[in-house]
Amino acid sequence: MIKYLITLLLGIGSLNLSAQISWSGQVLEQNGTPIFAANVYPKNAPEKGTITDFDGRFELQLDSQVDTIVVSYIGFDSQAILLQAQDPKQALIVKLQRAAQSLAMITIKGSDPISSQFSVQKLDKMDVYLNPVAQGDPLKAITILPASTTTDESANPSLRGSSADRSRVILNGVPIYNPVRSSQLNNQGFFSIFNPEIIEEMQVYASNPPLIYGNSSAGLVDIQTNQSLGEDQFQLSTHLTGAGLFLSKRLKQDSSFVQAYSNWQFSDAFIGLNRANTPRLKGFSTKDVGINFRWKLNQGWTFNSLHYAIDEGYDFLAASLSFEALASAQKQRYFTVNNLIYNSLNGILSINMGYNTSTSRFTQANLRTRTEAEHSYLGLNYKHLAWRNLVWQVGLSFDHQNQQTRDSIPLFFFAIDPEAPSYFQARNMKLQQVESYAFASWEANKDWTLSVGIRIPLALDEIAYPYFSYQAASRYQWRDQDQVLFSAGQYHSFSTPSFFIPSYQLLKAQQLAVEYSSQQETSNWQAAIYAKGEQGEVGNNGFFSMDQLSTIGVEASYQQQMGEHWQWTLANAYIRQRMRVDGRRYTGPRDFNYFFKGSLQYQHPKLFTAAFTYLSQPGNPYTPIEGSVFVEELGGYKPLFSTQLNSTRFDTYNRFDLNISRYFQFERYSLVAFASVANIFNLRNERDLLYEADYSSYAFDYYQLRSFFVGFVWQWN
């Protein structure tokens, strides 16, 4: 009997143990939004779980022995609920926390500049190579943008009517002053000092430069070097003006690597082939070497070090007003950019260091200059990413520039002649800026992003008055493909010393811009309207300098892909610009009723790639010479410029270019053959006036005439 009783009790006990309890509840985000399709399951038996409905609700029958349930969903931290502490009669409310962003995600987000959402254009290496006008040069690639108002065929970017000296090119957080090679030889294979192979991305701010960088009062080009390397690579190039090699080698996975490159350029073959159309070019020679090293020390720390040295020289027949003489220039330059970056789960700390030194000499008749320039830069930046929708960045920058000149300068600016008098002038010019900044970007909701920035000087050398830069911008993105940017601010920069104004001058600008872009799968639209006022003394040439410039511009571009192989682009801009000189207003140097750029590209991987480009704009304005007076002291004539500055224009500028390339893949290497014809129709685009000795008549000097260029690139992977 006792045996039966024990059995019965045990049976009851076991029945009790396996009793089912009904649980119900709701799974929510921290903000109360229900989570649909979340898993709710016993910790030790995931297969006996359930899924939440659209309202985040669930019901679950569980053995009474189950003591813990787990709630999980993609992108959220799983949460274990101890059932003993809960009342089955009451609904369980489970709030899941979004998963903390991984260090890898922080690193990805942090690698984009905080202001990147406000850049007009982002270009990567392939964009540079596929660009119809770039000829493989990163800065030249910008010239096809509607915002580019470069009129001198150089790679030095002029953006939205401002002089190139007001815009800044930044490499890994460090400003690179004078980013072009022999600038006197524009468009003849001499472009910027950046190798496209080391570039990860370029962000172009056509106006309203982000105040995380200083010393820009127009636009800004922010270049980031490679952050990872997919494969080892060896490249050898030979072309009409020389040869080069490029080597990429991974050191540890793909985030530590070294890239080295060198080029040697010379003029014999180029001049030989284009002799008739390069009457002024007498010869050039350039040797450069660069090395970019990136080392990921551990999950948090990364170090990047870039070094570049160039030795360049060229000889050409230079003309100025009524004098024409052989000119010779040499320049040796070295710069380094070093970055130490620390990524943590809360933010990113970066230390950017730059150093540049150069010696340049220029000789033409009685004009002889020797300039030694030094530039040191240190930037400390901290970007905080802790809040999901708010990112802020603060920093300090120390920018020291020093320029020493030893010049023999013509006594009369118009008299560059071996027989004309000159005087010796030695100058030491120094600029030291210590600035601090704060920048914040807030993603208010899916559609709106807002940002504000300020930049103030902490200590200045030789600048008598303080200045204060500020900006605000907002981006409205109503579909994934369409966005409008509104931006405005006040900005400051310092001019680079020149013959005409041999000192660092503080320049100021107020800008307002509204920009629209729409990116469809096969077409792109961009449009902008902007206004800006610029103040500060800028030398135009030897006889006047302007202190105010106002610009209003409208620009638009459209790109359309047609079928698999064709693509065309049209861009145009209207720029109304007025300058003030001695209280009077005149036409500005970049005042254009139209500034047209068009290109037609054909790309067929098995055949060839070709790009046909057309550029057109009214000729540049200039101030005519109305007469001359004889100067006894000089024994020559002095020009008398019209008092109506910029009242005349050169003839309309038109230019057609053609670039063709063909890719060949072999087993172990590939070959790209390329050829280009610049100014196909040999149009004579007027650049300057060459006067007779008494200024009674003149002839024209022209921009680049038709020239041919060919080359090959071999690549081994």
Binding site: T50, R57, M105, D124, H565
Partner: protein, 265 residues
């Protein structure tokens, strides 16, 4: 012969594209899931999309796919939930493949573009979202001509984000491998596919069984890995992973069809 293959495809693929073990787990799970009132339009959605695709191929009609598309669209009208958009985009992927196989590249591109647009518009994308977006973009790249290189960079970025969000996700690793596999060598492709695919097949299809959430990618990863070894004439590895693949996904036509290429090697 082509029809024979398609019949095989239908017979095997109707089982869905999950392994038997997963199906067993999901079946067990269904009894509990029925306790709550989840809309039947989402029940076994991944399997139904795949089945409708196979039906479409067999019958040369898109009726079933369209029907699922309409159901999902209706559901999205009622409940603007991002998971519904995920499955609509996944359906677009198969619709694009269907049109491509039918020789209608324009419709294929249109379907793919629509899927991409929906995925792009999702806010707070998770690793699954980035993986599907990258897969759609990877398929669509064939239509983009000169913009291919630009899109290629975007795909890489999306995959980088997906891996940063969840590197232990099968589909994230599979799409990473697939993207590298299909990237031409001249643009730096083909170097990392093996690494990603090996990682993919080492991961579970889902951490917890959930038929509302994606579980695809396992047989696709095996298929691509075996094809990679066949292409490189690494026959021993091809056979090893063929055996492992047929064990993990015994009903997979994708994997079984590769047997012919391994005979005698």
């Amino acid at each position: 012969m082509k029809n024979l293959l398609l019949i095989c495809l239908l017979l095997t693929a109707c089982q869905g594209n999950t392994s038997e073990a997963e199906i067993a787990r999901l079946t067990n799970y269904t009894t509990h899931y029925e306790l709550v009132n989840v809309d039947p339009k989402l029940a076994n959605i991944e399997g139904r999309i795949y089945d409708s695709f196979v039906q479409g191929i067999m019958t040369k009609e898109t009726k079933q796919m369209e029907a699922i598309g309409e159901q999902l669209a209706e559901l999205y009208q009622e409940r603007q939930h991002k998971l519904i958009q995920y499955w609509r985009s996944y359906l677009q992927y198969y619709t694009a493949i269907y049109h491509m196989q039918a020789g209608d590249a324009k419709q294929s591109e249109k379907a793919c573009d629509q899927g991409i647009a929906w995925m792009k518009a999702l806010s707070d994308k998770n690793a699954e979202d980035y993986a599907l977006l990258a897969m759609l973009q990877g398929f669509g790249i064939q239509f983009k001509g000169m913009r291919a290189m630009f899109i290629s960079g975007t795909i890489k970025k999306n995959l980088k984000k997906a891996r940063a969000l969840d590197a232990e996700n099968l589909r994230v690793q599979f799409v990473s491998g697939s993207n590298d596999y299909y990237t031409p060598a001249k643009y730096g492709g083909g170097k990392e596919a093996e690494k990603y695919l090996l990682k993919a097949i080492s991961l579970p299809a889902q951490r917890n069984p959930n038929e509302m959430l994606p579980s695809w990618g396992m047989q696709e990863a095996y298929e691509m890995l075996i094809k990679l070894y066949i292409k490189a004439e690494r026959w021993d590895e091809a056979k090893t992973y063929f055996n492992k693949g047929t064990e993990a996904c015994p009903n997979s036509y994708m994997i079984h069809q590769l047997a012919a290429k391994l005979v005698g090697k």
